[in-house]
Symmetry: C2
Subunit: 193 residues, 2 copies
């Protein structure tokens, strides 16, 4: 009973199932069958639409990063002023849509995937560049030449907080993470307590 136009639906179902499966196992060590079963289809169909396992992973990665990028973009359009822009980026990074245990686990594993798949590495580099550039754009007006270095540090801190979250049990605490990073940003901006 094949309904037509299934491809995009199947693809999205697979991508979401992939993230869920990686999140649950905490590893890329998940089988195509597991992913396909969770997405409600046979593994053969997964291969049909994606070609292979690695491509499924890369698609999941692209999707995750797309969601994140959209979130940041959205937050940025609402922000006016350099400081507000930075805070918007940080808030978006730890918004409840991104900062859930599933996504955190997936994200960490994308770093591993990037060691193996050139395409994944490319994607991760795009994310890095964008994040740094976005932060620098907000920081440079306030810090001048020091803005670039500060942006690198903030970016690293964000990733570090993500990484550390992967060890914490239970759902990640977004607000706490935001406070943690923003406290550093405020320090960088010379606001003493």
């Amino acid at each position: 009973m094949p309904k037509l136009g299934m491809e995009p639906i199947r693809r999205q179902a697979l991508v979401k199932a992939t993230i869920a499966e990686i999140g649950q196992h905490g590893t890329l060590d998940v089988t195509v069958s597991q992913i396909a079963r969770r997405a409600g289809m046979s593994s053969a169909l997964a291969h049909h639409y994606f070609g292979g396992k690695e491509q499924i992973f890369v698609a999941a990665m692209r999707y995750t990063m797309g969601v994140y990028a959209a979130e940041v973009r959205g937050a940025l359009t609402m922000a006016q002023g350099s400081k507000e822009r930075i805070e918007a980026i940080v808030r978006a990074s730890f918004s409840s849509r991104n900062f859930r245990s599933e996504t955190v686990a997936a994200w960490m594993n994308f770093y591993v995937l990037a060691q193996v798949s050139p395409e994944a590495r490319r994607l991760l580099n795009v994310y890095h560049r964008r994040l740094r550039s976005n932060l620098a754009q907000g920081l440079k007006p306030l810090l001048g030449a020091r803005g670039e270095a500060a942006a690198s540090r903030v970016a690293a801190l964000i990733d570090g907080v993500y990484l550390r979250q992967s060890l914490g049990e239970g759902e990640p605490n977004g607000p706490r993470a935001i406070r943690q990073v923003l406290e550093y940003v405020h320090l960088e901006l010379g606001e003493r307590r």
Copy 2:
């Protein structure tokens, strides 16, 4: 031609080979045979001494963390004064013995391992606690109550710098990483430029 007392030698060879292999592949996706071959023995012997793959990984993790801990301890005994202690920890974290691409890759994968192996998770938690406690010990005399939060941030930043290094090609740049983290520490200590 079995020489006696081989066990410790074999174990160490396997552990080092494991780190090298993970470093080269960037993944835990390495076979026991590959590890054993690199260590100059049969895979059967690896199983004989370690019991299984996961235990080999955990041993490699314990070893890596042991080297790191020793490095930090050594640097701490030479340091006097709170600020010096903090700088010593940071320097040790990015010393050329720890901050090489092989070790960075291994370290990242230990985070993945910790999602699967309870023992690995325990080890990583020990590392986290120790690092934070060491940093807090140096920061509290200088920052008072704020020291704890600052220690968390510095710890996260260190991990973040490690993570980001895993994407950079070529050997990690230790001095640069040290500068990056110390700049933040100095900021935290209220030293404006």
